[in-house]
Amino acid sequence: GTGSGSSKDESGPVQLLVFGAPEELAAYRTLTEAYEKARPGTDVQLVEASDRKDLLARLATSVAGGAPPDLFLMNYRFYGQFAAKNVVEPLDERIAGSDAIDPADYYPVAMDAFTWGGKQLCLPQNVSSLAVYYNRTLFTKYGVPEPKAGWTWNDMVGTAIAMTRDSRGVVVKGTESEGAAARPAVHGLGIEPSIIRVAPFVWSAGGEIVDNPDKPTRLTLDTPVAREALKNLVDLRQAYGVVPTDEEVEAEDDESRFANGRLAMLMSSRRSTTTFRSITDFEWDVAPLPVYQKQVGVLHSDAYCMTRGGKRKDAAWRFLEFAISEEGQRIIAATGRTVPSHIGVSQSPAFLGPSQPPRSAKVFLDTIPTVRALPTVSTWPEIEDVTAGILENALYRGDKLDDVIRDLDQQTRPLFARGEHG
């Protein structure tokens, strides 16, 4: 029993826990194969989960059961709870001793997101930000000017209003659409009511979403600036009706709606690119986020983390080195799904190559310097879930803004209180 189990563990392959759709997983498989080929004798086992929840369940049970995978890939918004619990092995010494990796080669914002208590815990493999995907063909058809860098929130609202049309192409106001009135055939904008979508605009307007980004204790959406940004967001649905109703969203999610040519603009991360590349009916592109005062983006980034309880740390590190190195980054970049965290690779044709849409892929890179990370609190996942519900009701049901802001604060306070910070 036990003996054979543990001995098997130490000699076996390096286990890497990842999640993603089959194509994404295929990309990781390419990566591990390339590694095994480049370093004969090595063995990396990809442990595949299909989504974040599955990955969490696997990770949690295996850690608790005493047999964690050696490496796992995780978003910075969620790694906090593992970091706080000492599951993750700090990498500073190994980075220092490595000649394949120079921290300076990577976008600092991403590197910073994965430092906890002053230590580099994980190494980011990608950096992304929100962008506005738009349907160029539709803009051309209705003669509305396309979004361009530096446009403001009000510009966006105006554009969205102009693009909200009924089936005859007449501009309509989506708020009348309840009940008997005709529904817009095309909506101006798709946006998800969540704290990560709200954050960049609050920042852009000069506000903060938490009282202390390093050691947050509460949400600060009650400041006038933040409140204004939030109100503007809610107005998209409640005042202008440019975003689909919740019923419509349930009926057809924004990504599909965009792909079907019935959404003029969609605020989303790099992730949607792969899906949209299958669009043949129209031409689309990306634009940076609109601004209030200054251009600010919000960070999306995943990193490789090494578990403290892993049995093959050296071998794991060697693979990590490879994956993060230029060579590994190129392989991943080729899939198009992510923006590489390696500055060099991200600016190379491997990523910017014009053969595939979006033409303005550079938008993703251009925003990186303006990108800010969300606070790293170990209870962040809970905070996101709680706020999502409240924001959803604010956007779609038009809950009173004061109540919304109060609820957001009250319900997240205990979570912040319970959370640990890096």
Partner: protein, 286 residues
Amino acid sequence: MGGRASGPPPLPGAAGRVWRTLGAAFVVLVFVPPLLLLVSGSLTEPGLPPSPTPHLVPDPVSTAGYRQALEIGGLLRASLNSVLVAVVAVPLSVLVAALAGFALARLAPRTTATVVAASLVALMVPATALLVPRFAIFRALGLTDTLVPLIAPALLGTSPLYVLVYYLAFRALPRDLYDACLVEDLSPMRIWWRVALPLVRPVTAALTALTFVLTWSNFLDPLIYVYDRDLFTLPLALRSLSVLDPTNFPVFLAGAVLATAPALLVFVLAQRRFLHHDDPTGRDRP
């Protein structure tokens, strides 16, 4: 009541039959269409923007979904694993359940009461409460990342419910039959095999089918205990297809159809063979 036939009485009832047929038709009408949507969805061409309305007859009809499901999802390999698990786990599970149910029916009332109570308690435990401790047990036994943990629930008869169902079925057999066996000096094992089991054949058929379905669609266990992609079972493979982007929905649906078909087939076979073939006494007429 040794010769007491069981099963439905052959009451003359052409009218009854018509009603039952109508009822059956209604059941089919309610239950089947949603699944036709599933099938038609799976026959849609993948890679197209998702249509908001499901069409009953896809245009164009395409089997590309199936091809891709097999390729991307590794469904072939996964099916093989699933079959492997089912082939071992289902008979084992039915065996365990039937034996345990029989033992319960024949043991002293006090023992029976204890085990029945324990089984009920076991039924109450949510699966999520078991994941972590079970993982620790399997790891201690060096069995993680093998198919064994997926087969292990067979030891439990897959669900204590099935043991209890067997228990009730065996208990309902006329006592004289057991007595007749005792007089012939049959060991409990042989009473079980020669007399008791054949007499509860509909129960066995039903539970076999259910065990198969349950084993076949077991998702949580492989998710936790299996790492190696080569050991993935069908639900796990299907799960990975479910996160495909919306344009590839037909691929996922194709996978779902492929995963459903065997379970359905097993049920149809089971009900043909045993449930339909009226009672073992052969008393029934067509």
